[in-house]
Amino acid sequence: MKKKWLVIMVVALFIVSLFVGCTENETSSDSKEKTENVATEEKAEEKTDEKADEPLRIFMSNAYYTAPYCAPLNEGVNIEAERLGYEIQIVDGEGSADKQLAQFKAAVAEGYDALIYFPADEASTPPVVDYLVSTGLPWVVLNTTVDPAVEELVPSTIASDFRDIGSNIAQMAVDYLPDGGNVVYIEGAAGSSYTMQLTESIYSTFEENNITILNDHQYSDWDPGKSMVMMEDFITKYGAENIDLVVCQDGGMWQGALAALDAAGLKGKVLGVAAGNDLIIKESIIDGSLLGTSIQDPFVEGGLGVSTLDKLIKGEEAPKWAVVPGGLCLIDDIEKHKWF
């Protein structure tokens, strides 16, 4: 009998200690942050009037936390927050507005001072926006714009212009194929705002310039492996000689397409255009297999998110839409940008 009790106790202790360990970790890292914050605050003391002993805490719900694009974005958020003397927590919203709503409610109960909202998609933003407004805390929207119906309620949005990225890519293709031609086009994920808005502007630009997209919509779910398989099938179907250019929505997909082209001995013969700041894109631009990219720097985006929120916290004026700097990047501009 006593043994059994012991077992139960040990098990319970184990679980509790696991979580105590977690919190201890947190607090120890907190104290580290705090000391660093003290250092930065000392430097910036003249700028800030705040005398608070504890730094203000920012909470961010990122709907696509684990996506490769978000790794540098989260890092950008963390570093900028540390620089400005905030404590920050970022959680994974798992692509669900409902979960994000629950996370924000928990964060408000926990007493966070400011919020960053990285939406799952435009359509589901209204209830979350309504809630965020009702909290009375400073908050911003990051990466994806909200539904037009609630646009007015958002203090500030920090996002790239996805349609702009699309037309940048399309323009590169048009410059390369001035007399028109045939391209294959690999898209990200069905239902994603990024994918749909890029596609919209790419289709319309191509239509005006006599460029034909050979394939129908095909989604690689951002995965290089799937994109490689797709590219192999395109080569089979259309024949290498009939494909003038490969259009990809990001670096991961380009990586896959490149692997397929390489295996078929077409690397450098069939060229591509893509978007994003992945290392593979930089390398491909240098070795000539990629014409160029439309810049979308997640690190800068994350940092801009926190600095804009910082303005709101301090009661300064912040832009309604802070557009993340983008634009074309060809081989000459490569050293101007950061790559991941």
């Binding site: 996506a67 540098p72 099938d233 089979t236 990586q255 896959g256 490149l258 992945d278 593979i280």
Partner: protein
């Protein structure tokens, strides 16, 4: 006369039913070849089997686990993690041999954890489901940690690692693994014990089979092959993706069951699994070559899975009827 015709008819019906999946495959090939001339070429078939080989390798391991009466949801994450670790080992100058060893070790050790936990608590389907779902989550998180959440482009020089994914090498590897696994399954004591355990675990225990060790071994084989699939995948794509193997577990299970191995455990065959993997691969390629958009492609895939397993069921029913008739 009549009798011979009858027998002939029966024979044909029998062939049709036993190889229902094969016939579905042939129908798809014929239809696609007629519509699209670029489909029926040796180049494309090599292309398809090469594409299939990665999932196929995973599915071979999955077959063992399914025969033994469980399933393994963690294989997708193992593919991701082993790929991530292999590529970053190479990028950090650790050498190709070491990268391969690490990747395989990861597969085996995750498999070991799965197997030992499930077999020690004498777990059935339910426990296997939750535990491998748990390791799936944990291993996926580890892959994110290891890669910093990023795509990592591989700095792979021409060598062993690169050649694993080149040309027909993945196909050869796939075939060798499949033959080896089929041999283990049908010709060794280990294989027979697997069927016994899957069929009736309590009886297997009574008869003195070391159930815990055996079951752990099945999961280790499944993990090992998933680790190997991670190597083949990264060698082909020349990069790693922390979510690169996401969904592989369901694809592998689909290949196993479309082939005709029952999820109830107790029997099955690697040859069938290979066939199942190929049918799914051919179908995907055919739909791509026919330029069918992503959404209808999903629907058609689902319908074909249902049709091919229905053929299998019809076959089994007919066989049962024949057996009953013979007894009468």
């Amino acid at each position: 006369m009549l009798k011979i015709q009858d027998i002939k008819g029966k024979y044909i019906a029998n062939v049709l039913r036993s190889y229902g999946v094969l016939i579905a495959l042939i129908i798809i090939i014929i239809i696609t070849s007629i519509i699209e001339t670029n489909f029926f070429t040796i180049g494309n078939f090599i292309n398809i089997i090469r594409q299939v080989s990665i999932i196929g390798i995973v599915a071979c391991g999955m077959t063992f686990v399914i025969i033994s009466g469980a399933f393994d949801l963690s294989v997708g994450s193992i593919v991701s993690l082993s790929g991530v670790v292999a590529i970053s080992t190479i990028n950090n100058g650790g050498g190709e041999a070491l990268a391969i060893i690490y990747a395989l070790l990861i597969g085996v050790s995750v498999g070991f954890v799965n197997g030992i936990l499930i077999s020690l608590i004498n777990g059935k389907m339910g426990e296997a489901f939750i535990i491998t779902y748990g390791t799936q989550t944990v291993v996926a998180a580890l892959a994110l940690f290891a890669s910093g959440g990023l795509f990592v482009a591989g700095r792979i020089k021409p060598g062993i690692y690169k050649s694993i994914g080149k040309g027909i090498v993945p196909i050869v590897i796939f075939i060798v693994i499949a033959i080896g696994m089929q041999f283990i399954l049908t010709k060794t004591k280990f294989g027979r014990q697997m069927c016994f355990i899957g069929g009736n675990i309590e009886a297997a225990k009574m008869s003195g089979i070391r159930v815990v060790a055996n079951r752990t071994a099945y999961f280790m084989i499944s993990g090992l092959l998933a680790g190997f699939a991670g190597i083949v995948l990264t060698s082909r794509v020349i990069s790693s993706n922390p979510a690169g193997g996401m969904g592989f577990e369901l694809d592998a299970i689909a290949a196993v069951v479309v082939g005709g191995t029952s999820l109830l455990g107790g029997n099955g065959s690697i040859v069938k699994t290979v066939l199942g993997a190929i049918i799914l691969g051919v179908m995907r390629n055919a739909l791509n070559v026919l330029n069918i958009t992503a959404y209808p492609q999903m629907m058609v895939t689902g319908v074909i899975i249902i049709l091919s397993v229905s053929l299998d069921i019809l076959n089994r029913k007919a066989k049962e009827k024949e057996l009953a008739n013979e007894k009468l």
